[in-house]
Symmetry: C2
Subunit: 295 residues, 2 copies
């Protein structure tokens, strides 16, 4: 895993630099907004989604500076969702990546606006010719990202998650919730490289299938961390879901079977990458990393 | 003005139908999200921004069904901004278009998510080939809308507005605030027709100049309504800015000069449309309507 750890760290640095450039702090009366946008997107995180964009892009020899812009845009969408999910009216979290959440550091209104602006900026970055010279590619990326992030994807999943606090979900229902809430953004992250590289449908299909299994494995690993991890390790409040009445994979399957299921999904995810031969290695390693991580 | 009133009503109906089709209520566990999205975007409003899109599109003989999709997308962005601006952490408004605001009708979390989903849907609609067959046009529309709606536009303006509660702004500062908060979305609404119609730069420039003056006239008229209108007429709480310490055009200029300034801007706006000859008539009438409206 040393190679993967290095690759993750190297990519995370490059994404950090790209975000820093795309979100310049300029002197203006409303600078507080950009400060909150930067606070919520810079300085931390494993940058799993950008890693997926960059790794899938490298399968198709996409120009790295283009891939980095797209990776940063996907990460902005992820960061905006964290800012809004942490709000008092939503999950009401004070701690994120080991730091105060945006509405604690700034205030609620600023956090709402910073989230809105990060989401909007993501589309601005993707639609910019600097991200790709072919407008078809840019337009497809916008469409894919919007579908993954909207009411049939991430936002719909968060709505389900809020509603789930009142009803006990079963395995198919949790699977659908997680697919929407986290799976679809992971899916478009994986597919972004293929879109940028104008890859054949077979490659796109393989990446979609990989992402599908990876997303679920990722979520089960998250549930396991919530039960087994400590707050210091994970960087956010743990035992939250286990303390609440919320149904999770771990609660419904038990620790042992949840761990097995995550491994099964990771193995399956890796198999979809066979068509890329040794070029698929980083994405394969990531699937294993995702279920073994301690944070 | 009878012609204009008819045209406004007719376009509002067409936009309503388009929004209704783009936001279908389907049976699913998270249907509450779409209900809130529909509640916040259907059933009311003058639909000024869609009217601007449709009128500018008709200058360049754009297919009406394409223009309606783009008009609906711009309106979604406007509606999302109202939902978030009305939140308790922001302007804390209970009444909008004569009805309870989204977070009152549903709850805060649902309102935050409905806003997020409307913004995301706007980009999805615009990036869809159904809106225009040329990906260049779609990509340009996304870029323009994102710039107008983001941290350098609408969201930045709302941040300024919140900060302005604590400091007394002067005329140039209020002008900049309003230009960002409402002017830029009005600007892209006017320009959308030109982008859809692949119009020459001279036409685009004229529409931008028109929008610039119109946006400011619109805002001054809003300030006048806040002072002079009643809650029943306007459909939202009035006397809000006048009761608060907030600086407005009316407060700084006085009623008389504010009214004169709005008329001057409306006249100026109309002059920019001369190059379109009689085809520019609806947009000219709108400029006069905007400063004379009672709601």
């Amino acid at each position: 895993m040393t190679n993967l750890q290095d690759a993750l760290a190297q990519n995370a640095r490059a994404v950090e630099e790209t975000l820093d450039r795309l979100l310049p702090l300029e002197e203006c009366p409303e600078a507080r907004l950009m400060e909150a946008m930067r606070y919520s997107s810079l300085g931390g995180g494993k940058r799993i989604r950008p890693f997926l964009v960059l790794s899938s892009a490298s399968l198709f020899n996409v120009d790295r500076s283009c891939a980095l812009r797209a990776a940063a845009a996907v990460e902005m969408v992820h960061c905006y969702s964290l800012v809004h999910d942490d709000l008092p009216a939503m999950d009401d979290d004070d701690l994120r990546r080991g730091r105060p959440t945006c509405h604690i550091k700034f205030d609620e209104a600023t956090a709402i606006l910073a989230g809105d602006a990060l989401l909007t900026k993501a589309f601005e970055v993707i639609a910019d010719p600097k991200t790709h010279s072919d407008p078809h590619v840019r337009s497809d990326l916008v469409l894919g990202l919007a579908r993954a992030a909207g009411n049939e994807g991430m936002v719909g999943g968060q709505m389900l998650d809020l509603l789930a606090e009142k009803t006990a979900l079963n395995i198919p229902e949790i699977t659908r919730l997680q697919r929407m809430k986290t799976g679809m953004l992971i899916g478009i992250a994986c597919e972004t490289g293929a879109i940028l590289g104008r890859a054949h449908e077979a490659s796109r299909h393989a990446l979609r299938a990989y992402a599908h299994d990876l997303g679920l494995a990722f979520q089960i690993a998250d549930d396991l961390l919530d039960v087994e991890g400590t707050e210091v390790e994970v960087g956010k409040k743990t035992k939250k879901d286990s303390a609440s009445g919320k149904a999770t994979f771990v609660k419904l399957l038990g620790l042992e079977r949840a761990r097995e299921h995550a491994q099964l999904l990771a193995d399956q995810a890796m198999q979809h990458l066979e068509i890329f031969e040794e070029k698929g290695e980083p994405l394969k390693q990531l699937a294993q990393f995702v279920i073994e991580r301690r944070a």
